[in-house]
C-alpha cells in the first residue's frame, strides 16, 4: 500500500513538474512523436505490402505478348498451340482492343488513349502453367513459349512478384536500421531532457538526500518523467501515423488498383497503436534510466558547501 501510494504520488508529481515546464516538454514530446511515427509508418506500409505477396495463391501465370503483325486467325492458332503444350492448364487470349478497354475502364484515361493514333496495347495470351512445376521447369516452359513464332515477349508475373518481395525485404531492413537509429535518438532526447531537469532541481535533490531520501525515492520522479514523455510521445506518434496513412491511403489504393492488386493501405489498428505507445514508454524509461544513473548519483549533499 505504501509502495503504491509512493509511486502514485511520484507519478502525479512528475506530471505536475511536466506542466510547469510545458513548452520544453511539449517540444520533447513532439520530437519523440515524430521519431516514432516515421518508422511506424514505414513498418505499417511494409506490413501491408507483405500481405499482398502472401495473398498470392502461388501459381504463376505467364503473359505471352504477341507480335502486332499477327492477324486474328493467327492469334487464335497460337492460342490453341499454347493450350496444347504440356504444362499449361489454361490459356486465355486478350485482344489488343480488350486490353485497351480494360485499361480505360480502370484508369479513366479513355480520352487520353483516344488521342493516340494507334492502340498501344498488344494482344496477350495469359497462360497458366500447372502448379506442380518447379521453378526450373517453369523457366524452361517460358523459354518454349518465347521461341514460338509470333511471340514477341514472355513475362512471368511471378518475376515481378519476386521483385516486389525483394524490394519489401530491402525496405524493411532499411526501416529496421532507421528505426533503431531513431530509437537511440528518442532515448537520447529523453535522457537529455531529464538531465536538464536534474540540473534544475539540484538543490531539491540535495535536500531530499539530506533528510534521508533513498536513491530510489530521489530517482522515482525522474523515471516517471521519462514514462510520461514516452507515453505522450507514443500517443502522438500513433496519431501522426494514422493521419499520414489516412492521407496517403487513397492514392496508394488507386495505384494498387492500377496494378490489379487487392492491396489496400490501412491501419494503424489498435494493436499497432498500442505497440507504438508501448515502444514509446519503453524508450522513455530507458532514456530516464540512463540520465538518472549518470547524473543523480553525482549530486550529494556532502559536496560543495
Amino acid at each position: 500500500m505504501r509502495f503504491f501510494t509512493q509511486h502514485l504520488s511520484a507519478a502525479i508529481g512528475a506530471l505536475g513538474e511536466f506542466q510547469r515546464r510545458l513548452t520544453g516538454n511539449l517540444m520533447t514530446i513532439t520530437v519523440i512523436g515524430i521519431a516514432l511515427a516515421l518508422p511506424a509508418i514505414f513498418i505499417l506500409a511494409l506490413d501491408n505490402l507483405a500481405e499482398v505477396s502472401q495473398d498470392w495463391d502461388g501459381t504463376p501465370s505467364a503473359n505471352v505478348y504477341l507480335e502486332r503483325t499477327l492477324s486474328e486467325q493467327e492469334q487464335t492458332a497460337l492460342l490453341s498451340q499454347i493450350d496444347a503444350l504440356s504444362g499449361i492448364t489454361r490459356s486465355v487470349l486478350i485482344s489488343a482492343e480488350q486490353g485497351k478497354t480494360t485499361f480505360a475502364e480502370r484508369t479513366g484515361m479513355a480520352e487520353m488513349l483516344n488521342l493516340l493514333e494507334q492502340n498501344p496495347f498488344p494482344a496477350v495470351i495469359q497462360a497458366t502453367p500447372v502448379n506442380t512445376l518447379n521453378p526450373d521447369e517453369v523457366s524452361a516452359l517460358v523459354g518454349t513459349l518465347a521461341d514460338l513464332p509470333g511471340v514477341e515477349d514472355v513475362r512471368l508475373d511471378q518475376a515481378w512478384l519476386q521483385r516486389l518481395q525483394t524490394i519489401v525485404d530491402l525496405a524493411s531492413r532499411a526501416t529496421g536500421l532507421i528505426g533503431a537509429l531513431l530509437a537511440i535518438a528518442v532515448v537520447l532526447v529523453v535522457g537529455n531532457t531529464i538531465r536538464l531537469d536534474i540540473e534544475n532541481r539540484r538543490s531539491e535533490i540535495e535536500i531530499m538526500k539530506l533528510i534521508g531520501g533513498t536513491d530510489a525515492f530521489v530517482r522515482r520522479p525522474f523515471v516517471y518523467t521519462g514514462f510520461w514523455h514516452g507515453l505522450m510521445g507514443g500517443m502522438l506518434a500513433w496519431i501522426l501515423s494514422a493521419i499520414v496513412i489516412a492521407v496517403v491511403a487513397r492514392p496508394a489504393n488507386r495505384l494498387a488498383g492500377l496494378y490489379d492488386s487487392g492491396f489496400a493501405l490501412s491501419g494503424p489498428w489498435l494493436a499497432d497503436g498500442l505497440t507504438i505507445v508501448a515502444t514509446g514508454v519503453f524508450l522513455g524509461l530507458v532514456g530516464a534510466w540512463v540520465a538518472v544513473t549518470q547524473h543523480l548519483r553525482r549530486i550529494e549533499p556532502g559536496e560543495g558547501t
Binding site: 538526500k209 539530506l210 533513498t214
Partner: protein
C-alpha cells in the same frame, strides 16, 4: 549516543579540518560546539549524518559504527537525525506545510498521520498559521523555525544544528535556542555549532571548543 574516537578529516588538497578528536555525547545531552570559523565545527557535525566520511578514526551513533554503513544504508541513518542549517535549506517552490512534511513523505507515512505530525511540529515552533505560506514570504527567523519543524517532525532522537542562529539578531537567536532547550527537555540529544560565545555561555550547557581542528 554519539562517540568520536580519534576522528580526523583531511580534505583533498591536504587541508586538515579535524586532527584526531575524541569525545562522547550521552543520550539527552545538549552540547555546543564552539570555536572560530574554520576550526572544524561544521566538519564535525557533518560527519555524524555521514554528509562526509572521516579520513581516520571511528564514529558511533546510536550504537552503530558508521564505518560499517554502506551507501544504501545512509538514508536510514539520516532519518534518525534531524538536521538544521544556517541557510535553512527549504524548498522554495513548496509551501511551509509541504516542506515540513517532506521527511514524512520520504519515510512513507500515511497521509493523515503525516498531517497530524506536521501540524504538531508547526505548532511547536509557533507557525501553525503559516502552513500555506511560501517560505520566501517568511522572515529569516520564521524560515529557520520551519527548518526546525522539518528536523523534528519525524521525531529523531538526535538533532544537529550548524550555526542555526548565524543570520539572526540576538533576540531571535535566543528564542531559537530556547526552542532547542524545549526539545532537549523531552529527551532529544542536541549538538549545536555556534560562534556566538556570549549566548552559549549564558545558556550554560556543555561545550566542546574546537581550535584548528583539535579539541581545546
Amino acid at each position: 549516543m554519539i562517540r568520536f574516537h580519534g576522528v580526523a578529516k583531511r580534505y583533498p588538497g591536504g587541508n586538515d579540518a579535524l586532527r584526531g578528536i575524541s569525545f562522547e555525547v550521552t543520550q539527552g545531552e545538549m552540547v555546543f560546539v564552539t570555536g572560530p570559523s574554520g576550526a572544524g565545527k561544521s566538519t564535525l557535525l557533518r560527519l555524524i549524518p555521514l554528509l562526509e566520511r572521516p579520513t581516520r578514526g571511528s564514529i558511533i551513533v546510536n550504537d552503530v559504527n558508521l564505518a560499517t554503513l554502506t551507501r544504501r544504508r545512509i538514508p536510514y541513518l539520516r532519518r534518525s537525525i534531524g538536521m538544521i542549517f544556517q541557510d535553512h535549506r527549504l524548498l522554495p517552490d513548496r509551501s511551509v506545510f509541504d516542506n515540513v512534511a517532506l521527511p514524512l513523505v520520504i519515510a512513507g507515512f500515511e497521509h493523515k498521520e503525516a498531517q497530524r505530525r506536521v501540524r504538531a511540529a508547526l505548532d511547536k515552533v509557533g507557525l501553525l498559521d503559516r502552513e500555506r505560506s511560501d517560505p520566501a514570504t517568511l522572515s529569516g527567523g520564521e524560515q529557520q523555525r520551519v527548518g526546525i519543524a522539518r528536523a523534528v517532525v519525524s521525531r529523531p532522537s538526535i538533532l544537529i544544528a550548524d550555526e542555526p542562529t548565524g543570520n539572526l539578531d540576538p533576540a531571535l537567536s535566543e528564542e531559537i535556542m530556547r526552542l532547542f532547550e524545549q526539545f532537549n527537555r523531552i529527551g532529544v540529544t542536541l549538538m549545536i555549532a555556534s560562534h556566538d560565545h556570549a549566548l552559549v555561555e549564558r545558556l550554560g550547557h556543555r561545550r566542546l571548543h574546537l581550535a584548528d581542528g583539535a579539541l581545546a
